[in-house]
């Protein structure tokens, strides 16, 4: 079961997810050490593998740095749920084989610490803590194909 880490914030940007002072490396393990550092310095200490980040609108706005997705993946975050995502970040997620869940009103439906079980195929989130079932629109087929192939480059290779 995955635990929700809720930030009642819009526009959580790539500078908060992975500050540019760490962009002198693309080593995923190293980037992961600083995941979400400028938003929450405690984040890396308190989360467990598979946990979920929940935010408001425009998550991942700002830079095109894919390092933001790598830091989140490297920190073993299972999924990010947001009301909406910034365009480049969203595309980078798919290209890295990381599933972004777009869910309007997520901040009203999920509280910090809630235990969630996610069915990606069905497009449902079972909020075990609140005893509620939340529906989301699954990724469109072409994006899902890329995610299931493990990212864009493997997808291109598989197609050949």
């Amino acid at each position: 079961m995955a635990k929700a880490h809720v930030y009642k914030r819009d526009h959580v940007n790539t500078d908060e997810i992975i500050p540019a002072r760490y962009l002198n490396t693309d080593d995923v393990a190293e980037l992961a050490l600083h995941c979400m550092e400028d938003l929450d310095t405690e984040f890396m200490a308190k989360h467990q593998a598979g946990d979920v980040i929940v935010c408001g609108d425009d998550f991942g706005c700002g830079s095109s740095r894919e390092h933001a997705v790598w830091a989140i993946q490297g920190a073993n975050i299972g999924v990010v749920i947001a009301h909406s995502f910034a365009r480049i970040f969203y595309r980078n997620c798919i290209n890295c084989g990381f599933y972004p869940i777009e869910l309007h009103g997520a901040l009203d439906k999920i509280n910090d610490g809630d235990e969630l079980e996610i069915d990606y195929k069905a497009g449902t989130i079972d909020n075990k803590t609140q005893g509620t079932k939340i529906e989301f629109t699954p990724l469109p087929d072409f994006a899902l194909e890329i995610v299931n192939d493990g990212g864009l480059l493997d997808h291109i290779k598989n197609k050949k």
Binding site: D10, H11, N13, D15, E16, P19, A20, R21, L23, N24, T25, D26, D38, L39, D57, D58, C61, G62, S63, S64, R65, E66, H67, V69, S84, A86, R87, I88, R91, N92, N95, C96, F142, G151, L152, L153, D154, I156, K157
Partner: protein, 420 residues
């Protein structure tokens, strides 16, 4: 059916008669911009997947800029990877340190940006090139790797928003103030996934540098691309400058093209704007915020680090002593030399400013002007997110070069019009 300029360019790149907003297309990429932060990972990915091919060396421009000259061992390693790859692939447009500059200033200056083309770059401010009537957008490292290898990327054709710039800018008000006003109105996600098309008589009076300041910040409203149609000013800039292919196709929006949003900005009524921390949409007119104390002034970046910007700043700073530390960063070697040849560097030296070599550096909190806790910086850059230029407890105030220069002189946010 009618189409916007963005739709026409994407239709051409997809080999289609027409495309409509929302349609998924595979587009042929005409130009790829590569820099030192996002390209080395793309190179590694390609190597790891056993993909050795570069689709067309003529269509790739490489310049280290974010951390150049290398700020530490790790960034030196990034530069080394970029350098090795560019040499191995014999890329003809590799700008080595000494010729390298801030990418979005360098590529247009060196004649790599053509109207009507599809341009991508591993940097969110790649939208800058839309000032030339091109479709240009920022991508991440994986897309960059795919583009380098195949020359093809998928796109969802964006809906277009139209911003009509009427009137004309009054003295002391610049294109930076216009774009800060646009972002103030629609918010940092007001143009999410969309094309921002700028039209209107006020644009006619703007130089290519001024136009690039506007399209540069399309991403700060969440836009996929910013775009301005071709005219005489564009032509004058391009004539004799283009490298390689010198012909290009000019597209323009049909008069009955469909827009999801239309807004008019009366440029005559604008005053200098300052965007307060921590969002570019926190714009305030200078009359409401003058007097706020600053610790640093930064004039540079892909938004406002071109020669015109330094002329404006020097005009205000000339003969005065700056009250706060003031960092001047010409964005390309040519601009750096121009600043010296035109006597601007001397003006800055006399006033107590520091003039650095071209780099993105402090704009993104890299180096060469990092802020300490509690410090405030008036900056001609494009982002003022938490920790953008240093400590998460510092603040960035976005403004035009004129406002930044006047604020440097007084050590507080200052209306530049009193110095003009």
């Amino acid at each position: 059916m009618s189409m916007t300029i963005t739709e026409k360019i994407l239709a051409r790149a997809a080999g289609k008669e027409r495309v409509a907003a929302g349609e998924l297309i595979n587009a042929q990429v005409d130009m790829i911009m590569c820099h030192d932060v996002t390209t080395p990972p793309a190179i590694s990915m390609l190597k790891e997947k056993g993909i050795d091919k570069v689709f067309d060396p003529e269509k790739i421009v490489v310049t280290p800029d974010h951390f150049q000259p290398a700020k530490d061992i790790k960034s030196a390693e990034l530069h080394k990877r970029l350098d090795t790859w560019a040499k191995e692939k014999k890329l003809p447009y590799y700008y080595k340190i000494g010729r390298a500059g801030v990418c979005h200033a360098l590529l247009p200056e060196q004649g790599h940006i053509r109207p009507g083309e599809v341009i991508v770059g591993g940097d969110s401010h790649t939208c800058t090139y839309g000032a030339f009537g091109a479709f240009s957008t920022g991508i991440g490292s994986t897309d960059l790797a795919a583009a380098i290898a195949t020359g093809i990327l998928w796109f969802k054709v964006p809906e277009s928003m139209k911003f009509v710039l009427t009137g004309s800018l009054s003295k002391g008000v610049y294109s930076k103030d216009v774009v800060l006003e646009v972002i103030r109105r629609i918010g940092t996600d007001g143009a999410l996934y969309k094309a921002m098309e700028f039209v209107g008589p006020a644009l006619k009076e703007m130089s290519m540098a001024a136009r690039m300041t506007i399209t540069n910040m399309a991403i700060e409203a969440g836009g996929k691309n910013g775009i301005i149609g071709f005219d005489e000013t564009t032509k004058r800039y391009l004539d004799g400058r283009l490298k390689g292919k010198t012909d290009y196709t000019v597209f323009e929006s049909d008069v009955d093209a469909v827009y999801s949003h239309e807004d008019t900005i009366d440029c005559s009524s604008l005053e200098p704007m300052v965007a307060f921390p921590n969002l570019p949409s926190n714009g305030k007119p200078i009359s409401e915020c003058a007097g706020e104390a600053m610790d640093q002034c930064y004039i540079g970046s892909c938004t406002n680090g071109r020669i015109e910007d330094f002329r404006i700043a020097a005009g205000i700073i000339k003969g005065k002593e700056v009250a706060i530390r003031t960092i001047i960063v010409p964005t390309t070697p040519r601009i750096w030399k121009q600043a010296i040849d035109e006597g601007l560097a001397e003006i800055f030296y006399d006033a107590g400013c520091v003039v650095s070599a071209p780099t993105c550096g402090a704009c993104l909190g890299g180096f060469m002007g990092i802020l300490a806790e509690g410090e405030k910086c008036v900056s001609t850059t494009n982002r003022n997110f938490v920790g953008r230029m240093g400590s998460p407890k510092s603040g960035v105030y976005l403004a035009s070069p004129a406002t930044a220069a006047a604020s440097a002189v007084e050590g507080q946010l200052t209306d530049p019009r009193k110095y003009l």
